[in-house]
Symmetry: C2
Subunit: 421 residues, 2 copies
C-alpha cells in the first residue's frame, strides 16, 4: 500500500463540476489501494477576489487579518472536495493547516514551514479515511495565529506533508500534463519529459518555468520526496521529478529543456570606482528595498580609469523602485550612471548532460548567432546556460536552441494555459 | 469604562462600503471610552451561496464538512471588519470561534454552546484592542472540529461572549432600529418600544417576531445580559431588552405588542379513541421525524362516542412530512381522519400587563369579532394570547388588535426589511 499526496491547483477546482471530477480521481486513487492525502488550493480566482475586497476596505490591509481572510479560500475548496468525495462513496475528512499540524514562522503573508506534526492526519488515514488538507496555510507556533505561506504555498504544503508522512510520491495536479522541453505555446514540437532530477527542475523553475514553485522543489530535494507533475484533465502519468544529479549515470545525462522568462528588467550601474565594497553598496540598497536580484554580471575593470560596470536583473514590477533606490545614492557612491531596460528577455538551457558535454555553450551561442540574435549577457551554472537578449527575440531564440539540441518530439505538443498557485 | 459587545448581521456587512460604515461605528464606540467586542455574521448572502455550492457537489453534504465550509463566511467578514477598523486608526484583532474559546457540543450543523473561555479576548482587550469574533461557530470539545450553531447562531455567540466577559450590554445590530409594537409593514403606526423584559421578548420571538432569535434571548435571560436591538443604519438608541417580568411594578406593566406568523400549517387528528396514551402516539411520531410542534389544542371528548380531536401547528415546510407520518399510523391507532391545512396564520398579543388585566382576552376576541374575523383556535400563556385564523385575515387582525389596545404611535413607522442570521 502506497501513501500518495496529491495537490490540486485553483484551475482544477474552479467549479462544482471540476471539483466532482477531482473527487472522482481521488476516490479512484484510494480504490487502487493507496492511502491518500489531498492538498487543495482555493477555487479559481477566489484568492484574487478576496484580495480585492481587502483593498476596498483598507488600502494597506494588516498582514495578520489578510491571512485570516485569505485562508478562508482554502477552507471552502477543502470542504467542497471532501463533500464531493463522500458523494462517491468514500470517506473524507478535511483539515485546516493548523489541524494538520503545519507549524510556521511568525511572519504573516509569507511564513515558512518550520515543522509538520500530522498526528490527526495519520490517525484519520489509519481509520481508512481520505484526508483533505487546506494548502497555503499554517499556524505560527508562538501566537497561535493563522499564517499563509505566500504564492505557491499549496505546493509547499503538499511536499512538506508528504515528507512528514513519509509518502511515496507527491503528485502536483494542474492543467498542464507534465514538464516539457520548452513552453509548447512557443515551441510547437516541445516534448513532455518522463523524468528529470531535482537540480534540473530547480534550474528550470529558477529560469522562468512556471510549472512548479521553486520553494516546493527545494523542499522536495531537501527531504527526498519524489514529485510527479500531472494534469487533472487527463490520465497521462506526467513527469516524475526525483533523484539528484549525482545519481544520473553520465551516459544517461541529457539536456532537459529550454526555459524562457520575460518578467524581468535589467539595471546597469556604470563607471563604478573599482574598489572593495562598491558592489556591496548596490546589493545592500536593493536588498533593503526587499527586491530580489536574479542574474548578476560584473564586467572586468577598464584598465584606463580603474572603473567597472555591474549589471543585474530583477522582477520588472520592482524595476522602477530599484532604479530610484540606486539613483538616490549614485552621486555619493561616485557612479557614472544608472541605466534601466525592461525590454529584455531571458532564455536558458538546462540539463545534467551539460556537465559531460563541454561544447554545449559554443553550440548554444552558434544557434543564436545563426538566428541573428544578439546576446547581451551570459551567465552559467554547472547545468544551465542563460542569456539575456531583447524581449522580441525570446521566442525565436527558444526555438533555435530547442532545434539545435534536438529536444523536440515528432508530434505537436498540447498548448496549455497558466497554472494556479 | 463599560464593556460593550456588538453583533452585526449579514445585511449590515453586505459590501465593502457597509463594512467601512460598521467599522466607523465600532471605532466611535471604542473612542467613547468603552471596551468593544464585535461579533460578525457572514457578508450578505455568503452563507446561502456556500450552501448552494455544497449541494452542487453533494446533494446530501456531510455535516462536518458543511460546518468547515460555512464557517469560512464569518472568517471573511471578520477579517474585513478588522482591516477596516485599522484603517480608521484603531487596533483590531480578529478571532475564530475556536480562538475565542467558544466550546460546543459535538453535533455539527446545530451545535449548542457548552462553555465560553475567552482568555485570548480578555488579553487582547487588556492591550487596548478591539476584538472581532466570528459568529455562528465554535469548536467541539472532544474532536476539536469546527462546528456551527444553526440559524441565529451569531446572536447566540454575541450573548454567550457578553455573559462570559461580564459585558454591560450586548447590542444586536441589523437593518431594523428596534422592537416595534407590530410589524410596521402591516401596522403603519406601529411604535418602537424603548424597553421590554426578557419574557415579553421571548413570547414575541416565539410568536413570529423575527427581530431576535429565540435562543439568544433565552441565553440572555438565563445569564442576565441586557440586549439592545439597534440599526446599523441610524443612531437611534433602539430597544433595550432586560429584566424579568417580576421586576416590573404592576402599574408599569403594559401590553407590549402584536406578533404575526404565517409560516405554520395546521394538522388535525380527528376521532381519536379517548384512552390514555393516544395523544402521546401522535407526538412521538412527530418528534421521531424531528419536526417541531408549536401550538397544541385538544378538544374535550364527545360524550356520545368517547372520542376526541387533537389539533396542532408545525412549520409549513415540515407539514407534508408530518401528515405522511401520521397517515401511516392512522389505522393501527384507530383515528377517524387526519386533516391538513396550510392556509392559516397566527396572531398573538404579548405583554406583562396582561397579568393584571383580566379583561384582555375578552377585548381581544371582541376586536376580531368586530373585524368579522373567525377564530379557529385559541391558546394562551400568562402574558400572551394567540389565535389561529385564516392566513388572509392575519393583517386585518393585527391592525384591529393593535388599534383596540391603543398600541400605536402618532407617526408612521419606518418600514424595514428582513434581518440576517
Amino acid at each position: 500500500m502506497a501513501l500518495v499526496v496529491q495537490k490540486y491547483g485553483g484551475s482544477s477546482l474552479e467549479s462544482a463540476e471540476r471539483i466532482r471530477k477531482v473527487a472522482e480521481r481521488i476516490v479512484a486513487t484510494k480504490k487502487a489501494g493507496n492511502e491518500v492525502v489531498v492538498v487543495c488550493s482555493a477555487m479559481g480566482d477566489t484568492t484574487d477576489d478576496l484580495l480585492d475586497l481587502a483593498h476596498e476596505v483598507n488600502p494597506v490591509p494588516p498582514a495578520r487579518e489578510l491571512d485570516m481572510l485569505l485562508t478562508a479560500g482554502e477552507r471552502i475548496s477543502n470542504a467542497l472536495v471532501a463533500m464531493a468525495i463522500e458523494s462517491f462513496g468514500a470517506h473524507a475528512q478535511s483539515f485546516t493547516g493548523s489541524q494538520a499540524g503545519v507549524l510556521t514562522t511568525e511572519k504573516h503573508g509569507n511564513a515558512k514551514i518550520v515543522d509538520v506534526t500530522p498526528f490527526r492526519i495519520r490517525e484519520a488515514l489509519d481509520k481508512g479515511n481520505i484526508c483533505i488538507v487546506a494548502g497555503f496555510q499554517g499556524v505560527n507556533k508562538e501566537s497561535k495565529d493563522v499564517t499563509t505561506l505566500g504564492r505557491g504555498g499549496s505546493d509547499t504544503t503538499a511536499v512538506a506533508l508528504a515528507a512528514a508522512l513519509g509518502a511515496d510520491v507527491c503528485e502536483i495536479y494542474s492543467d498542464v500534463d507534465g514538464v516539457y522541453t520548452a513552453d509548447p505555446r512557443i515551441v510547437h514540437n516541445a516534448k513532455k519529459l518522463d523524468k528529470l532530477c531535482f537540480e534540473e527542475m530547480l534550474e528550470l523553475a529558477a529560469s522562468g518555468s512556471k510549472i512548479l514553485v521553486l520553494r516546493s522543489v527545494e523542499y522536495a530535494r531537501a527531504t527526498g520526496v519524489p514529485m510527479r507533475v500531472r494534469s487533472s484533465y487527463s490520465n497521462d502519468p506526467g513527469t516524475l521529478v526525483t533523484g539528484t544529479m549525482e545519481e544520473i549515470p553520465v551516459e544517461e545525462a541529457v539536456l532537459t529543456g529550454v526555459a524562457t522568462d520575460t518578467s524581468e528588467a535589467k539595471i546597469s550601474v556604470l563607471g563604478i570606482p573599482d574598489t572593495p565594497g562598491n558592489a556591496s553598496a548596490i546589493f545592500r540598497a536593493i536588498a533593503d528595498a526587499e527586491i530580489n536580484i536574479d542574474t548578476i554580471l560584473q564586467n572586468i575593470s577598464s584598465l584606463e580609469d580603474g572603473r567597472t560596470d555591474i549589471t543585474f536583473t530583477c522582477p520588472r514590477a520592482d524595476g522602477p523602485r530599484a532604479l530610484e533606490v540606486l539613483k538616490k545614492i549614485r552621486l555619493e557612491q561616485g557612479w557614472e550612471n544608472v541605466l534601466y531596460d525592461d525590454q529584455i528577455g531571458k532564455v536558458s538551457l538546462v540539463g545534467a548532460g551539460m556537465k559531460s558535454h563541454p561544447g554545449v555553450t559554443a553550440e548554444f551561442c552558434e544557434a543564436l548567432r545563426d538566428g541573428g540574435i544578439n546576446i547581451e549577457l551570459i551567465s552559467t551554472s554547472e547545468i544551465r546556460i542563460t542569456v539575456i537578449i531583447r524581449e522580441d527575440d525570446v521566442e525565436a531564440a527558444a526555438r533555435a536552441i530547442h532545434e539545435k539540441f534536438e529536444l523536440g518530439g515528432d508530434e505537436e505538443a498540447v498548448v496549455y494555459a497558466g497554472t494556479g498557485r
